[in-house]
């Protein structure tokens, strides 16, 4: 298993009590794989301890991006949330640590490939 960060980068932020987590593949091959593998269900299961009400996935193929919206995941969001990370700033790096089983030959998915 390797972390998702081998083939993708990303960024996360907030909208009220919701967060968005963008995952951006480094290559077309990586994006094709991500599209199949990284479903809203996979992301919802990973972040289940944070209790999102639901997870919705959007595509931005122009930047090889998948954008996940995690509803009601911020324990109240800015001001109300008692967490250190009130605004979901850490969620992208957390998702990029997701262990994944890449195909044996995944060199075409790596950064700079």
């Amino acid at each position: 298993m390797t972390p998702l960060s081998r083939i993708a980068h990303g960024r996360s932020g907030d909208k009220g009590n919701h967060a968005n987590v963008a995952v951006i593949a480094y290559t077309d091959a990586g994006f094709a794989w991500l599209r199949e593998y990284l479903t809203a269900d996979v992301v919802a299961a990973y972040f289940a301890p944070l209790g999102p009400a639901r997870v919705e996935r959007f595509e931005a193929a122009n930047v090889r991006g998948l954008n996940f919206v995690l509803y009601d995941v911020l324990a109240g969001g800015a001001s109300r949330s008692l967490r250190s990370d009130t605004q979901g700033k850490t969620l992208a790096l957390a998702l990029l640590q997701l262990p994944v089983e890449l195909p044996a030959d995944h060199t075409a998915m790596l950064r700079g490939a």
Partner: protein
Amino acid sequence: MKRVRVGNGCGFWGDSLDAPVRLAAAGRLDYLTLEYLAELTMSILAVQKQKDPAAGYASDFLDVLARLTPILAAQPNLKVVTNAGGMNPHGCGTKARDILTAAGLGDRRVAVVSGDDLMPRLDALLASGHGLTHLDTGDPLAAVRDRVVSANAYLGAAPITAALAAGAMVVVTGRVADASLTVGPAAREFGWSFADLDRLAAATVAGHLIECGAQATGGLWVNADDATGLGDVGYPIAEMRADGTFTLTKPDGTGGAVNVETAAEQLLYEVADPARYFTPDVVADFTTVQLKDAGRDAVAVSGGTAAGVTDTYKVSVAYRDGYAAAGTLVIFGPNAAEKARRSGAVILERLRRAGLTFAASHVEALGAGDCVPGVVRSTGEPAEVVMRVAVRDPRRAAVERFTKEFSPLVTSGFPGTTGYTTGRPPVREVFAYWPALVAKSAVAPRVEVLP
């Protein structure tokens, strides 16, 4: 071909005080934009204005403007567009004019954009059928009406364009959509109609990319490292053309990085459906945007298109929602994470024994993965962790009492408890966020050029 350089030197209230000055000095800008208003900033400004009617704006801006005056004197065509006006754009604009006048720049006109503040007529709006229902839950605002401290519509670029057309060199607004700070100057410079939605969408992409300052230029970039030079990070510039295409870049010789990775990360930042990014000006489709590396620290951006326009403004309402406080201690030694969590439980138990429970409480062992609780666990044993305990409650006195329960652990807690150096944590008022929509026809943006 005409090119217009818009640089954003501030991404939020609290951003670098030096960045706007450095960007204006080195950016060869036509426009300097400064963005100060996060979702809940208006509630803080509203409370300030309640205490002092002359306050209620982002006061950092006036300090920045004072430092900018020599640059403005040397660059007579440089214009400044900012939403620093917050809850009191007129007060802020007046002070800005006085600063310019004192610096011998009294000929530079200051314009104020207002009309976003719905508080003075909130009850009239509600009575006339504008329910301001919660965007997510559908609840009517009446449920929290008596606790509302601010309600602002996000205005668009048109009043900014009008202010510039009236000769303003400095435009101070209240709540305006972040990207509109860039769309306004572009529409003015290129003579775009506000019916030319594809152009507005393209400029919205530019505004969105630069609105968070250094987040477009290496800040938060997943691949930032020592070589990125964040210590000297340059702030972003959109060099725009009449067809809506633009180059994202930053001043030469500064640190940071502009490349397809930094641009793509920022393009999707705080976005829900990238095919429908709602602003007051246009619904922009970010999935049609093309990013291409165009040399060192330059990305060519093209293709942002419109997916329509709405007949509503988004409204950001904030209401009082009790009090909160958070305190920390450092726990060192074997089983530090477990001891930190137990220490937090001890604090809450002692308060319970004193008769106090809280509407919400949260304990973190920072250093052990609790920043993303339950999702990412640190591997290996940390030598020490930061114990952080936070509570929220409607009763201010209960939260005050909570803040006094940290120091006792220095002698009555687990061994290795230390780090009590900052005193009792402050109690802050909590403001909850209530997103809503209002018909554009119910809001009248105003532009006033100050004499």
